[in-house]
């Protein structure tokens, strides 16, 4: 009856895997380092050059990967449960489209004032601020709509339609923009984990923490929502309030990640399914802690693969998450046809 023992074993194994992947992510890179040097740099002191590579570049990147993995996976889990739809993810509310519209305005809209060099990569506060503003605008709109609408599926449909509409606007902007600016924008849409400064990382950690706290407060509601909103209401859930809380948490999580790292796809849809499979449970009291480990592991793994071990080239992280995520999504679709259950 009780799976506590089994779950403790799974948690321990996952914790070990995540830690190893974290170290491996720091170890891998264009400059090859000895493991002993990496460990020395991390825990004691080492040559200044190695220390700089490890502490200034690779450690922040590994931390970013971990945080991105956790935040996107939690948002995906919440959206799948709220909409009772296995294909829902962090971006169903149109948050990434909102962010990309903000970024498109900055990069494509004001191309006369900004040189492409200023916008290289993500380490630019103006791009982050624009993405945040765009995501927040969509988030406020969706929260307002969801408080007006009775049926949660309507919210889903409007979110998807809104995302489509915004993409259309961005496409028009792309069509009329300069080549170099276009490339800068495209590079942003590919996502990146490695361009954050220490202060940017701190801001991201702070907002993600806020999102995680809200998610923890929603655990009980999420379990009730598995039954559907009708049953959830009759066991005493304040459906409207918890819906708002869950959407807010998701918006903060997905919005901050998109602002700082670009729209990173498939992690948010795929990881919740992997987590449910590993724990064989639908209980969010188990899934939520579990997803911290599965989410960060899969994102760290994606980052390791994107560095193409043994090569100087780096792949866009979005392609790697897609290549890892898509098989999972296909597997979910095939499996659902057999069981006919949601989630």
């Amino acid at each position: 009856m009780d799976n506590t023992g089994k779950n403790i074993i799974i948690f321990t194994v996952l914790l070990v895997i995540t830690s190893l992947l974290f170290l491996l992510d720091i170890f891998m890179g264009s400059v090859s380092l000895k493991i002993t040097d990496v460990l020395k740099a991390l825990f004691t002191t080492s040559e200044p050059e190695i220390e700089m590579i490890v502490l200034r570049f690779r450690l922040p990147k590994a931390i970013t990967a971990t945080v991105v993995g956790i935040a996107l996976s939690i948002s995906g889990l919440q959206m799948q449960t709220l909409f009772r739809n296995p294909m829902a993810g962090p971006y169903v509310l149109g948050i990434s489209s909102g962010a990309s519209l903000g970024v498109a305005f900055i990069i494509l809209g004001f191309s006369a004032d900004l040189s492409p060099e200023n916008l290289r990569g993500m380490g630019n506060w103006s791009v982050i601020a624009a993405a945040w503003a765009g995501a927040a605008a969509v988030m406020v709109l969706m929260l307002w709509l969801s408080s007006k609408l009775k049926d949660i599926l309507t919210v889903l449909v409007i979110g998807i339609m809104l995302a489509g509409g915004i993409s259309a606007i961005v496409t028009i902007m792309q069509y009329f923009s300069h080549e170099t600016m276009l490339k800068a924008y495209i590079v942003w849409t590919m996502g990146s984990l490695g361009n954050l400064t220490a202060s940017q990382l701190n801001v991201m950690l702070l907002s993600v923490s806020a999102g995680i706290v809200i998610s923890l407060l929603s655990v009980k509601s999420l379990n009730a929502l598995l039954l559907g909103e009708n049953y959830a209401a009759t066991i005493g859930l304040n459906v409207g309030l918890s819906r708002l809380l869950i959407l807010t948490g998701t918006s903060i999580l997905a919005g901050s990640i998109t602002a700082f790292c670009g729209p990173i796809g498939f992690i948010g849809i795929a990881v919740p399914h992997v987590t449910r499979l590993i724990f064989r449970s639908a209980d969010h009291r188990i899934l939520l802690p579990g997803i911290f480990l599965t989410g960060s592991s899969i994102m760290l793994l994606s980052d390791i693969v994107s560095q193409l071990p043994g090569s100087d080239n780096v792949l866009p992280v979005n392609s790697v998450t897609a290549m890892i995520g898509i098989p999972v999504v296909i597997w979910v679709v095939l499996r659902n046809r057999k069981y006919q259950g949601v989630l």
Partner: protein, 332 residues
Amino acid sequence: MNNEIVLLLESLIIGYEKGGHNIPVYLPVNASGRKGELIAVIGRNGIGKSTLLRSIAGLQKPLGGTVCINGKESREYSKTELAQNLGYVSTEVVKVNNMRVYDLVSLGRFPHTNWYGRMKQSDHDIVLNCLEMTGMTALADMLITEISDGERQKAMIARVLAQDAAVMVMDEPTAFLDITSRYEIVHLMHQLAVEKAGTIVFSTHDLNIALNQADKIWLMLDDDLKEGSPEDLMLEGSFDKLFSSPEVRFNTDDGSLTIKKEERGRLYVEGTGRLRHWTEKALSRAGFSITVEKTPRYIKTPPGKNGTWVLANGNSSREYNTIYDLLRELTA
């Protein structure tokens, strides 16, 4: 048995709001339920059974009137308090992968647990007890996607039991189930109403089950809601109004339903016991009325197990091996 009224509906107007207008779907409802009662809600399709039950459960705002539970108006309860006093099960099927029966039933403890949904030992004990009462203990570790429809419905009932509410509202809990499971579940509900001293209100289209199991019936007719024991309603002829169709005839002697057929004539059946009973039954199904006095044309049932049915008409007579053959001849 305690005679306290647990559920009281006073001039409850059920319906919905459209474009700022209130659209009632039924007459104002006055009805009540006492401790330990199993109440069946009966009425034709579309009369508002589900709306009534949803309004009691708080899923739909009444347009007027009150629902009182344990002497307190339901809208004065907080959401959690209301859930502690009122549970709801409908035909809506919960199909979630990776959810065990045990987890589903545990969700019934929702209004009793803390903000994180932590289950105390006492909560686990209640869940185990509810699984036991519904006969689901052996399936506790199965996934809800792996069990049958009847078992899943029992699991949903175990869940509402775990909620430990005085009033349980069930909207067609036996729809989609086979006859055996239907009787099992309604019998279970009856037992639970008594054992847990709760009030269970359920809607059904199965008149037979309602008449045989319910302590009370809320009969939703087009012009009135009649409330009373099945037998009282039967004797005052309320059920007749349920069937406005001239095709269906309600037999007030035994509560059975028959479909009116074209009259084929009168027949007398000679014989005894089961053979005679089923022969008469077959003949009335075919549209004959059975008489007590001998008719010129009559039927003799077989004397024993291996005999034949005889259709006698004056001096001539013909024999048939089965009722089926006999009917074929009579209705040809």
